[in-house]
């Protein structure tokens, strides 16, 4: 096992070294003529307004939060998956309980709308209805226009 993992470390090391060497090589042959405008941040050709480090929507945090919980659960499922066949139904029920508990939480966040993005700040009501998909595609396009 050690030798297998040492190749992981070897890969990591070689990867870093490769990047470093390439950057070094590039440094040798690439030109460099910085100026003030060049070093300023790109914002579609305008002067950047304020700093790029803005505080963004808290939604991203919620997504990450739910992810972490699921991730942890998923990690537990891996050892389970390996012994599942040999243990049999007991393992199945154990896992089912585990997953059901998880599902309860999942249903809760789903229900509370944590999985939705807040789409509107003010006219939230208006766009809330979901897309109505009207069956299949019409064969001709002009037939139904008037």
């Amino acid at each position: 096992m050690m030798i297998d993992f040492s190749s992981v470390f070897m890969f990591l090391a070689v990867g870093v070294i490769f990047v470093a060497v390439t950057m070094l090589l590039a440094r040798l042959i690439r030109p460099a003529d910085p100026n003030v405008v060049k070093m300023s941040n790109y914002e579609c050709g305008e002067d950047p307004i304020g700093s790029g480090w803005f505080t963004f929507n808290v939604r991203f945090y919620i997504i990450a939060l739910i992810f972490v919980i699921f991730d942890v659960e998923a990690v537990f499922l891996f050892p389970w998956a390996l012994v599942f066949k040999s243990i049999g139904w007991i393992a199945f029920w154990d896992m089912l309980v585990f997953i059901v508990i998880l599902l309860v939480g999942f249903a809760y966040v789903w229900n509370m709308g944590d999985l939705d993005w807040i789409k509107d700040l003010d006219n939230l009501k208006e766009n809330e209805e979901d897309t109505v998909i009207s069956g299949t595609m019409p064969n001709t396009t002009s037939g139904q226009v008037h």
Binding site: M1, M2, F5, S6, V8, F9, S51, W53, T55, F56, V58, F60, Y61, I62, A64, L65, I66, F67, V68, I69, D71, V72, E73, V75, F76, F78, P79, W80, A81, L82, V83, F84, I87, I90, A91, D94, V97, F98, I101, L102, V104, G105, Y108, V109, M112, G113, D114, I118, L121, D122, L124
Partner: protein, 193 residues
């Protein structure tokens, strides 16, 4: 290869130890909190390496998956969400700094002597074997209850955390009716009085 394997392990150990200690120092010393959050990345990575050195491949990989891929992201998100460009020094006053240093040194000294004092009972050096399957078996048998409890704990944590965040979002939603000019009345009012 026995002798060499130890040597290699030792080399790896020192590399990882250096990585861990160095980056952990960065974590606590850097003034820029975003950077120190990213320094944590290297600490966690080094710890994963240590696990693998210890033959705990599953735990090592889990460390990467959960800590780096999950918890650290949460932390970085948290930092970014509460990031304030104008936030002043994130360190406490000098007094606390001295106190912290002293207590850190004291802690370490104590731990160090404790380790050196205890005559550890080695049961010998176990050969590395696959751990995932056995862990699964243990989880399904002796650790079944904690296993299920962990699930409950996680779900509760998720619900709780989501609730906390959401209550905040609700406030925002209500306040958002003010329109795009976006003066949020609830925000920024320190509830001191």
């Amino acid at each position: 290869m026995s002798v060499n394997s130890y040597t290699v392990q030792a080399v790896f150990f020192y590399i990882f130890a250096a990585l861990i200690v160095g980056s952990a120092l960065l974590v606590v010393l850097l003034r820029n909190i975003v950077r120190s959050a990213f320094a944590l990345f290297f600490t966690l990575f080094g710890v994963a390496g240590i696990y693998i050195l210890l033959g705990a491949d599953f735990v090592g990989v889990t460390q990467v998956l959960i800590y780096i891929g999950g918890v650290l992201i949460l932390i970085v998100f948290g930092v970014m969400l509460t990031h304030n460009v104008y936030s002043v020094d994130i360190f406490n006053k000098l007094g606390t700094l001295v106190m912290g240093t002293v207590s850190a040194i004291v802690t370490f000294t104590m731990i160090y002597y404790a380790i050196k004092q205890v005559p550890w009972l080695y049961i010998g050096y176990k050969a590395n074997a696959p751990t995932t399957g056995p862990i699964g078996r243990e989880l399904m048998t002796s650790y079944l209850l904690p296993f299920e409890l962990a699930s409950v704990l996680l779900v509760l944590a998720m619900i709780g955390a989501a609730y906390l965040i959401r209550s905040e979002v609700k406030v925002k939603k209500a306040a958002g009716n003010g329109g795009p000019s976006g003066e949020r009345p609830a925000d920024g009012i320190r509830k001191e009085d």
